[in-house]
């Protein structure tokens, strides 16, 4: 498992394509409208999937914990939304904290962890 995170607009997906030779189409892009698929090598916008789960009353940490086997050979890309202003809205605050927790969980279980800054990937683990 490889975790790639970074702020918005940092070129995370381009980094993954270049670094790991992943085809642009071999990437499942999560959104708040669709769930998740494990058919592709990389899963992008995982933070949107966290939001998708929360909107359906599901606990994202539990979900990741019980599906770790599905993520074993995947590259997971998450937008790090945890380092900005604390949101006023309760739901956005929960979203922010769950993304942080999920990032912890992936970090602990990943073989490699990268942070992307201005298109430059730094290996943290």
């Amino acid at each position: 498992m490889i975790l790639v995170f970074g702020g918005s607009n940092q070129g995370k997906r381009e980094f993954v394509q270049k670094q790991f030779g992943i085809n642009r189409h071999d990437m499942f892009v999560c959104s708040d409208k669709q769930g998740i698929s494990y058919d592709n090598q990389a899963i992008a916008n995982f933070n949107d999937f966290v939001q998708w789960l929360l909107a359906r009353g599901k606990d994202p940490v539990e979900y990741v914990q019980s599906n770790l086997h599905n993520f074993k050979d995947k590259i997971i890309i998450i937008e790090d939304i945890t380092s900005g202003i604390v949101p006023l809205g309760k739901e956005t605050r929960a979203y922010r904290e769950y993304v942080g927790k999920v990032m912890q969980l992936f970090s602990r279980n990943a073989d490699e962890v990268y942070r992307v800054f201005c298109g430059i990937g730094e290996k943290l683990k």
Binding site: Q10, D80, I85, P87, C118
Partner: protein, 202 residues
């Protein structure tokens, strides 16, 4: 040599950029230019500008105030000069939110070309930019466009820059240094000074 310095508010990025500019210019015996892009809109902005002016007093910077056109003053520069562009963030803001019709015709793809061309005119270009990419809130269309354009420019400039540096509360992280320049003395001087610009009363 092209340097890109990025950091949050009050991270020390502008002051470190000043030290880098000073040391690069001393090596080349060229003129130091401070390329100011911010257009002050109110008293708070004006105080911010004054604060930055105070910080660079006596450093030998010739100041150029130009919000839109990075290449307008190109003829003045030569290859031994060092330009400190502060900041890319204000420049993007001017380009995106200007009422000036001429400004709006500059396309997204043109912006890095302008920065590249400016870098070519002078021996050294040091660019100061902001890190505004960690929020959980979603913003208006305009703000997202602004984040997107600044993020894009940061990435493209980081690609052709010789040195990319992140400042976090005056801590310095060098992300890229293709000539393995020894910046330790410059960074020591910066740390010895302590703090950059003061907080402006809002």
């Amino acid at each position: 040599m092209v340097f890109l310095l990025i950091g949050g508010s009050k991270s020390g990025k502008s002051l470190l950029a000043q030290y880098i500019a000073r040391d690069l210019a001393a090596d080349q015996n060229g003129q130091l230019y401070y390329f100011a892009t911010m257009t002050p809109l109110d008293d708070e902005d004006r105080r911010r500008v004054e604060e930055h002016k105070k910080i660079r007093e006596g450093w030998g910077f010739a100041t150029i105030e130009e919000p839109f056109d990075l290449l307008k003053h190109s003829n003045n520069f030569n290859h031994s000069d060092t330009i400190l562009l502060d900041s890319l963030t204000a420049y993007v803001q001017n380009i995106l939110f200007s009422d000036n019709d001429e400004v709006n015709i500059i396309g997204k793809e043109d912006l890095p070309l302008h920065v590249k061309a400016l870098a070519k005119e002078a021996g050294n270009l040091i660019i100061v930019s902001d890190y505004i990419f960690s929020d959980a809130e979603s913003f208006t269309y305009e703000v997202n466009r602004y984040k997107e354009l600044l993020g894009y420019l940061n990435i493209v400039i980081a690609e052709f820059a010789d040195c990319v540096i992140e400042c976090v509360s005056t801590n310095v992280k060098i992300h890229k240094n293709i000539y393995s320049l020894d910046l330790s003395k410059t960074i020591d001087d910066f740390h010895a000074q302590g703090f950059g610009s003061e907080i402006v009363e809002i």
